[in-house]
């Protein structure tokens, strides 16, 4: 028999707030984490603004030993471990060391790259005939599964410990993979999450593609403009989000707090056919993904109260709205509330789906809808489909029950997950 799966812990390292308290305050109040980035300016990037979580060395030492931080240069692992351990603690689970691995608990913690700064450092050394000076941690910091490996060790996980990677869909996909594993009875508890490195070496490729905004270098906080008629490309971001998913019976038995239930979801791909390419989504696939997620969750589309969109602040935002509208067969004032966290944190790439899912669950749990920033001039192609009241620009308090979260990524891959307040 299939197990019901609930969320019992959350952790977040976002550009506008590290930790649940700070992050909840930030998203309620529309606080931006986008800043001018002197390093991007020095390197003559088109886009010189970015969203980067701030982690002091003192804070890092609460999660890593001094030895682990020697020659450590992997921002993605830093963010992921902090978010993951915070989620574990938030779920009321032990952090102290036991001798026996926890056979029932595992992690699926995704990322796009790992330790890209460490990788650069290593390449310079290798090219200077100094391979022997790489030290013992270059591999652990630069292997894609570095983040799940670090977390597995710190938490003593004895179930599946792996890293998934599907571009900007990564975080949403990790939740669904963890969900499937618990639902099928193969694990009782999974830490699902994703992270993204910071800095020029991860963001440069996007800058070169001219998909990032270059019009707000002196006005960083208004640079990320999802759903706006003056949206001019995404603002690069980074960070990590983490969710403890747990078998309902196990969660109830240990008296854990329950934020929400994962009702189901769907991942698919547009196959880079039709209008789909490496970088553009096939709308048929997006609509199928959303419709299949609703069916998989065994709800009616009319039950969805709120959508947390992918909505990156490019010209594709109106296409996304059209896809949601068609897939749910809802439009105008009948459309669910919709918001995009990217107006405050930018596009956190492989970390996006997890950070945004944490924001989605906080809204369900506390009964609020965070405001959309920077869309005072809504794109008319969007308001032609849905009523502008569905795109709140002020904080709303509402009893919301069902939320849909979707992410779409390069490679024409999609993920949509349905959460319900428990």
């Amino acid at each position: 028999m299939n197990k019901r799966v609930v969320i019992t812990g959350l952790g977040v390292v976002a550009p506008n707030g590290v930790g649940l308290t700070e992050f909840t305050h930030a998203i309620k109040n529309g606080i931006s984490g986008i800043k001018h980035d002197p390093e991007l300016e020095r390197l003559q990037f088109s886009c010189q603004i970015a969203g980067k979580p701030e982690i002091s060395n003192e804070m890092a030492l609460r999660y890593f030993s001094e030895l682990e931080l020697r020659n450590f240069n992997s921002s993605g692992i830093l963010y992921g471990v902090i978010a993951g351990m915070d989620a574990w603690k938030d779920a009321g689970l032990a952090l102290e060391k036991r001798d026996e691995p926890d056979w029932d608990s595992g992690t699926i913690f995704g990322t796009g790259t790992s330790g890209i700064d460490k990788f650069r450092e290593s390449i310079y050394k290798i090219d200077a005939f100094e391979t022997r000076k790489l030290g013992s941690t270059a591999v652990a910091q630069t292997m894609n599964s570095g983040v799940s490996a670090f977390l597995g060790g710190k938490l003593g996980l004895g179930n599946q410990v792996t890293t998934n990677s599907s571009a900007c869909t990564t975080g949403t996909e990790s939740i669904l993979m963890a969900y499937e594993r618990i639902k099928s009875g193969q694990a009782k508890r999974m830490l699902a999450g994703s992270t993204s490195d910071s800095g020029p070496y991860i963001w440069g490729g996007f800058d070169a593609m001219k998909v990032c905004s270059f019009k707000h270098n002196t006005t960083p906080e208004s640079g990320s403009r999802p759903m706006s008629s003056t949206a001019s490309g995404f603002v690069p971001g980074s960070g990590a989000g983490a969710l403890v998913l747990e078998d309902l019976e196990t969660a109830l038995a240990r008296g854990a707090q329950i934020y929400a239930e994962v009702l189901g979801g769907n991942v698919n791909s547009g196959g880079q056919r039709g209008l789909g390419t490496m970088t553009a989504p096939n709308p048929v696939a997006v609509q199928n993904c959303i419709a299949n997620a609703v069916a998989n969750a065994a709800i009616q589309a009319s039950e969805i109260d709120i959508i947390n969109g992918h909505l990156t602040a490019t010209s594709k935002d109106s296409l996304e709205i059209e896809n949601w509208s068609k897939a749910l067969d809802r439009s105008g004032v009948d459309f669910p509330y919709i918001n995009s966290l990217k107006s405050m944190v930018g596009h956190c790439l492989s970390g996006a789906g997890s950070i945004e899912s944490v924001a989605t669950i906080l809204q369900l749990h506390h009964g609020f809808i965070f405001p959309n920033s920077n869309c005072e001039d809504l794109n008319p192609d969007i308001t032609a489909i849905i009523d502008k009241s569905r795109i709140p620009q002020q904080l709303l308090y509402r009893k919301i029950k069902v939320a849909a979260k979707a992410s779409f990524g390069f490679g024409d891959v999609n993920g949509c997950v349905i959460f319900k307040k428990f």
């Binding site: 001094e66 030895l67 020697r70 030290g135 013992s136």
Partner: protein
Amino acid sequence: MNKEETIQELKAIVKPYIQNEEAFENLTEDTDFINDLKINSANLVDVILDIEEKYDIVIDNEAMEKMSNVKAALTIIETQLASK
């Protein structure tokens, strides 16, 4: 090279890597890096890099293989310093 002084310097170098405090406090020439100090074997290369940096010497692969305890480390450091 003053042996006692070098042992103290070595102690400072291995300190971040050790996992057995007692063996570390009672460190002698016969102390083994892995068996006594419980240094993670992967970290031995870091210890060697730190020694190289401290004394501005190069420890080759053959010497590295022999460097399992304090005594061997002292000999290698002495040899390398003498050939400088």
